[in-house]
């Protein structure tokens, strides 16, 4: 799994690649995000463009990212969804929870 953290002004952009599935990727994403929240970051974009595959545990991690951020007074937005992930968010109605953007740039600017 790939994790890259970039600072874009006061926005933290996390480029995530690989799989977010039960037992691989899910815990790691959680840890990386908490690290940023603990540093006091309030504006976070998850770029999912290179995520090859996600399962229900991975969707659960996205939700957990969203709620942890909220508890820290921060906000998580999603960018660059593949067609498959976009479909999964629609089917599970998580598209009503997340703000999603076509590109990481758009997401960063939206704050």
């Amino acid at each position: 799994m790939k994790f890259e953290v970039l600072e874009k002004g006061d926005v933290t952009l996390m480029n995530i690649g690989g799989r977010i599935t039960l037992g691989s990727g899910d815990i790691k994403m959680r840890d990386k995000l908490l690290e940023q929240l603990d540093k006091g970051k309030k504006k976070i974009v998850l770029d999912l463009g290179e995520v090859s595959f996600i399962d229900s545990a991975g969707l659960g991690e996205l939700v957990a990212a969203y709620t942890s951020a909220r508890r820290h007074g921060a906000q998580v937005k999603l960018a660059n969804l593949t067609k498959k992930i976009d479909d999964l968010l629609d089917i599970t109605r998580l598209s009503s929870v997340f703000e999603t953007f076509d590109s990481a740039d758009d997401a960063v600017k939206s704050f």
């Binding site: 599935t21 039960l22 037992g23 399962d55 229900s56 545990a57 969707l59 659960g60 991690e61 939700v63 957990a64 969203y66 709620t67 498959k84 999964l88 089917i91 599970t92 109605r93 998580l94 009503s96 929870v97």
Partner: protein
């Protein structure tokens, strides 16, 4: 049955890493069974969810317990059937919260069975002797 393959049965240890192996066999099965390739990814996801559940809840990750995956090709143009068996007691399937309801949207769990129901044409729960809980995924092969 298409191309001569009638059924594959996989018996695996209850370890989460095994879902990738099951996936590889499913990809081969798709070819022989004549399942439409654009559905294959979604059915593969459904199988992963069911296998993960069998390992986690049915067999409580006890590696000495077996999960059995049956993939039945069925008639050409008919239905394929995939059954995932564990050694557990099953659960009250009538009682699962709907993860798409407003009050459940922010729960990190509870989307597995829901997703399975979206992607296959019918889901049945079943038991067998001496013990074993099974989830049966029915796939109408003509559908895309």
């Amino acid at each position: 049955m298409s191309g001569g393959l009638k059924q594959i049965i996989l018996q695996v240890a209850s370890r989460l890493e095994i879902t990738d192996t099951v996936d590889e066999y499913f990809r081969l099965f798709v070819k022989s069974a004549g399942i439409s390739p654009d559905r294959a990814d979604w059915i593969a996801l459904s199988i992963r969810e069911a296998v993960n559940n069998a390992i986690l809840y049915g067999n409580k990750q006890d590696p000495s317990k077996t999960v059995e995956i049956e993939m039945e090709a069925g008639e050409e143009g008919g239905t394929a059937m995939i059954r995932i068996w564990d050694e557990g007691e099953g659960f009250d399937i009538g009682n699962l919260p709907d993860p798409t309801k407003e009050e459940n949207l922010l729960r990190p769990h509870g989307r597995g069975i829901f997703l399975i129901r979206q992607f296959v044409d019918d889901v049945r729960f079943t038991c067998r002797n001496p013990k074993g809980f099974g989830i049966e995924l029915l796939i109408v092969k003509g559908k895309s």
